[in-house]
Point group: C2
Chain length 186, copies 2
Amino acid sequence: MSNVFDEIQRANNAYAAGFGTKKDLSMPPARKTAILTCMDARLDPAKFAGLVEGDAHVIRNAGGRASDDAIRSLIISHKLLGTGHWLVIHHTDCGMETFNNEIMGKLLSESLVTATIDKDGWKNQVKSRGSLEGKYINWLTISNQKQSVLEDVNRIRNHPLVNKDVIVRGFIYDVRTGILTEISGE
Amino acid sequence: MSNVFDEIQRANNAYAAGFGTKKDLSMPPARKTAILTCMDARLDPAKFAGLVEGDAHVIRNAGGRASDDAIRSLIISHKLLGTGHWLVIHHTDCGMETFNNEIMGKLLSESLVTATIDKDGWKNQVKSRGSLEGKYINWLTISNQKQSVLEDVNRIRNHPLVNKDVIVRGFIYDVRTGILTEISGE
């Protein structure tokens, strides 16, 4: 069976062979932009936003949420590397809409193995060694996409370490069409 | 002056116009892979690892560190969406090597405006409204890239919510060559 690590190394060899002038890129993002979005495999922010290497910081986590860690990254992005345009991008059909803290805590307490979902929700197929640690984590799930975008934009704008000159705007990306739509609070 | 938000919307229109069969992608990553890497603008993980939309979760933060939030995302990636191959990728010439908690706390206490760096280190050019909040954050800076990769891989492997069947490997990406090199602890 082909090994994904080997496949990635082969793909990387080809990429590095054509690296060209990218060797001269500097650290501060050329377009002074940072994007906060979801880890979802269907999203390629560089492609859907038209970015090339050197253009923008990209911060990604489960949900594209304004977690403390995302805010740590954004503050470094502005304070040390000069970005002033921030996009918070959530998306349709997000996995974070399929569960909540109680569900995840219970699933992990029964087993660490991958669960399955059907019309009745998430279920463990395998009961094995689990851990209660999942009950102590806020999984930052989403019940309403538009609201989660607005709340995250609001949290970032009002953070005491965020310079008021930074422009923060919220968007939803549609995984069925590729379209990015701005969400405004008005 | 051209507005970066408008430029991104125009680029997105072109991307969505050629979306094609990507509309049928499903949520679980096709290649059962998750990548944790840095937000650095010079890194395009899809390009340097040969991934297309639908292949892999991508988690990014300042440094590509195994923060609590990155671990939240990785656990969701395996427990709910079935990834079993995780790559932790730090990189050469990382901004996280240029400061530490004390420096960042002091810079932010004096001003929230972007600082500058020269051979003597980071300096605020503008003194304005600052905040002491920066002193309460662990910025997860890096003093040795190889060591930070190994420590982060180790933290993930030993986390009580991480299934021991997940394969976690560490790498350093060279921003001058595009080459990805595996880092092993032996």
